[in-house]
């Protein structure tokens, strides 16, 4: 998919061997181990959430299986003051940003409190109407620039979403305003059943920036070091006033679109097993053990810790009461309008006041 005019970055190949000169941070053991841990945390949580959906304990869930390097790489490159405008696929990135597992479970369960996460307070909730979040990021970036702040807005979109007008329009604004915003495309090859080549005749999605003066590049989205590196550089440039950037990460969606989907209806099984060979975790583990930073025992104790954390979150989530009946009215406006009071009283009369799960 690479194109001569579009830069492409990769450091870790599928077998864990290194190409080119690694950036300096790759020697930072603590940082790289943190990336690895985040990726594992994401995958364990994902697996748990899918299992919960299968047993009727959660509604539809969109796994990020296979795309952990993308999510963890870019989210780790952001600083706390930057702002994320995510999609439904970005739970793992939100986890890196500080959103709690329990909050993600609440969101998935259709409990609005899951979008009132305690950290990071300025990040947007997951956008479900595709591509709409890209304009929000540009608006926020404009505001930050206007106030002379050094923060950067980061927004994600899928290969499918990149076909929507909102995406071009948002990038165009960002280009004109030289707004500090990073557009990240998670090109996982599919928009539900629609393959990448039915989405656009352009050889790369990164070149979509060209038409609006936003520099585009591609990165191996299965290589967390590469993702972390290119996103860090783009953020640093935007922070120093150099304007927006577009980065297309090439990933594979290694499972169904969501738990409501069955990819075997439209995806070739052989293709999937080929793609598993490029999976992002194994290559990083190989790198870690080649560095002498990671062994079997480290792996085992990390997984045990992660699973314990996840179990605790699930327990807390399942023990939580449903929101109060009146809550559906109480956040519609800053103050409850008189016209809504009768409806609110009717709901309380029918369902009680307390969040008792009824």
């Amino acid at each position: 998919m690479a194109d001569e005019k579009i830069p492409y970055t990769q450091y870790l190949q599928a077998d864990g061997s290194v190409v080119g000169n690694l950036p300096e941070f790759a020697e930072d053991q603590e940082l790289v181990l943190a990336l690895y841990r985040h990726m594992n945390r994401a995958r364990r949580f994902d697996t748990k959430a899918v299992a919960m959906q299968r047993t009727g304990r959660l509604p539809t869930f969109p796994p990020a299986l296979g795309q952990e390097a993308f999510h963890v790489g870019f989210a780790s490159a952001m600083s706390a003051d930057d702002i994320l405008f995510p999609t439904y696929r970005d739970g793992p990135a939100q986890m890196v940003r500080g959103v709690q597992l329990e909050e993600l479970l609440l969101f998935t369960a259709g409990d609005e409190r899951g979008s009132d996460f305690q950290v990071p307070r300025c990040d947007f909730p997951q956008a479900i109407p595709i591509a709409t979040q890209t304009a929000h990021a540009v608006g926020a970036a404009y505001a930050m620039k206007l106030r002379g702040e050094k923060s950067v807005a980061v927004t994600t979109i899928g290969d499918g979403g990149s076909s929507k007008g909102d995406f071009y329009e948002a990038m165009n604004f960002a280009g004109v305003w030289q707004a500090p915003v990073i557009f990240l495309i998670n090109n996982n090859g599919w928009a539900i059943s629609t393959p990448r080549d039915r989405q656009s005749a352009a050889p790369t999605l990164a070149q979509k920036g060209d038409a609006v003066g936003v520099p585009g590049q591609q990165v191996d989205g299965n290589d967390v070091l590469a993702v972390y590196h290119v996103v860090s550089e783009a953020i640093a440039a935007a922070r120093s006033g150099k304007g927006p950037a577009l980065i297309e990460a090439l990933t594979h969606r290694l499972t169904d679109h969501s738990t409501a989907d069955d990819a075997s209806r439209y995806r070739d099984a052989d293709l999937l097993s080929e793609q598993w060979k490029e999976e992002p975790m194994i290559r990083l583990r190989t790198y870690l053990s080649n560095q002498g930073w990671w062994g079997k025992e480290d792996e085992e104790s990390m997984l045990t810790e992660l699973d314990q954390e996840i179990e605790r979150a699930v327990e807390n989530f399942e023990a939580s009461d449903a929101p109060e009946a009146a809550a559906m009215f109480d956040y519609m406006y800053a103050e409850l309008p008189a016209d809504l009071m009768a409806q609110r009283a009717e709901v309380i009369a029918a369902h009680g006041h307390e969040g008792d799960g009824s």
Binding site: D111, Q199, S200, F329
Partner: protein, 340 residues
């Protein structure tokens, strides 16, 4: 005759229309290879080829807009929005062009398009997957808004919509996509647009509804009869616009009472239009105030508390009894169903 669900009846009608008329084409996200996320177009691409069953890029504005160009060129596009909540990027094209191309060109060009979308709540969907915004479309002159509430009506009304010379917004109540099976004869017979369906005759109160709420309304009518000896008529509006007010007025003339039931929020909902017309033309037959049983004026709550928002049989029964007892309050306590 085959026993089919509502969503299967949609597929049957689409297949029938495509067989009959080579100008009928389907387009939308995931409608082809995947057969639609609800399987409404299952098997159709295999049968009719990828040129007539088109998997589009992800862009609802373009889906709505290319349908206008196709239609003006003599094709009969049936465009799918994957969910009603994702139809809004198409509004520009639908409001500014599809609904008015005939009028703008004094009939020279027209838009025989069907825009299909699953709509309504009750499936534990994520945010934006439970919209009931039919009133937005009903407000646009030049469109037909058609909503089937059974497999038989899905088949007959969809065929009628595809054959109709003007644009139709065809909203499929996904909560009852698979709720019941009915014998549907694949005979190519359309049902009439622009007419209400009287599902039950009654002398005491007229229940007016559409979409998935037909299910609870019919159940309420049964309970009103068996438990309270109240004889309720049930009217499925089916085509919201242009509205068949005569059928509703005729029933209310007989019963003197009307309860309008819809899942969408109350304010500016299509029930308000029906109530206004009753006030204009039927005021003197009314023995009690018009009742509305609707969604509340809030964002549909997420899956965890959605059941508190969705209308239920109890609310319909209570409203019907208030109407029947007016000006007294119903004496016996309303029975309450187990809270879901």
């Amino acid at each position: 005759m085959t026993e089919v669900t509502l969503v299967q009846a949609v597929s049957m009608a689409l297949a029938r229309a495509m067989e009959e008329d080579e100008n009928v084409v389907l387009l939308g996200e995931d409608v082809g290879v995947n057969g639609g996320v609800f399987r409404a177009t299952k098997g159709l691409q295999k049968k009719f080829g990828s040129e007539r069953v088109i998997d589009t890029p992800l862009a609802e504005a373009a889906i709505a807009g290319v349908a206008v160009g196709m239609a003006a060129q003599g094709l009969r596009p049936v465009a799918e929005f994957q969910f009603m909540g994702f139809s809004y990027p198409g509004l520009d094209q639908i409001i500014c062009h599809a609904s008015r191309l005939r009028n703008r060109t004094r009939g020279r060009l027209s838009c025989p398009i069907v825009y299909r979308a699953p709509y309504g709540g009750g499936i534990h969907g994520p945010e934006h997957h439970s919209e009931s915004t039919e009133a937005l479309y009903a407000h646009i002159p030049g469109l037909r808004v058609v909503i089937p509430s059974s497999p038989v009506r899905a088949y007959g009304l969809l065929l009628a919509a595809i054959r109709d010379p003007d644009p139709v917004i065809f909203l499929e109540p996904k909560r009852i996509y698979r709720a019941v099976k009915q014998d549907v004869e694949d005979d190519g017979e359309a049902l009439p647009l622009d007419l209400c369906f009287t599902l039950r005759d009654g002398d005491d109160v007229t229940l007016v509804t559409w979409g998935a709420a037909v299910k609870e309304t019919l159940a309420a009518a049964e309970t009103l009869d068996s438990r309270y000896d109240i004889d309720a008529a049930v009217i499925d509006v089916a085509t919201l616009t242009p509205l068949d007010m005569d059928t509703i007025l005729a029933s209310v003339e007989k019963t003197g009472r009307c309860v309008i039931v819809h899942e969408a929020p109350s304010t500016g909902g299509f029930g308000a239009e029906i109530a206004a017309r009753l006030a204009e033309r039927g005021l003197l037959s009314l023995l009690s105030p018009i009742e509305r049983v609707t969604g509340y004026d809030v964002v549909p709550p997420g899956a965890r508390t959605e059941h508190r928002y969705l209308i239920n049989e109890d609310r319909i029964i209570a409203a019907a009894r208030r109407a029947v007892f007016f000006p007294e309050a119903p004496t016996e306590q309303d029975h309450t169903m187990e809270d879901a």
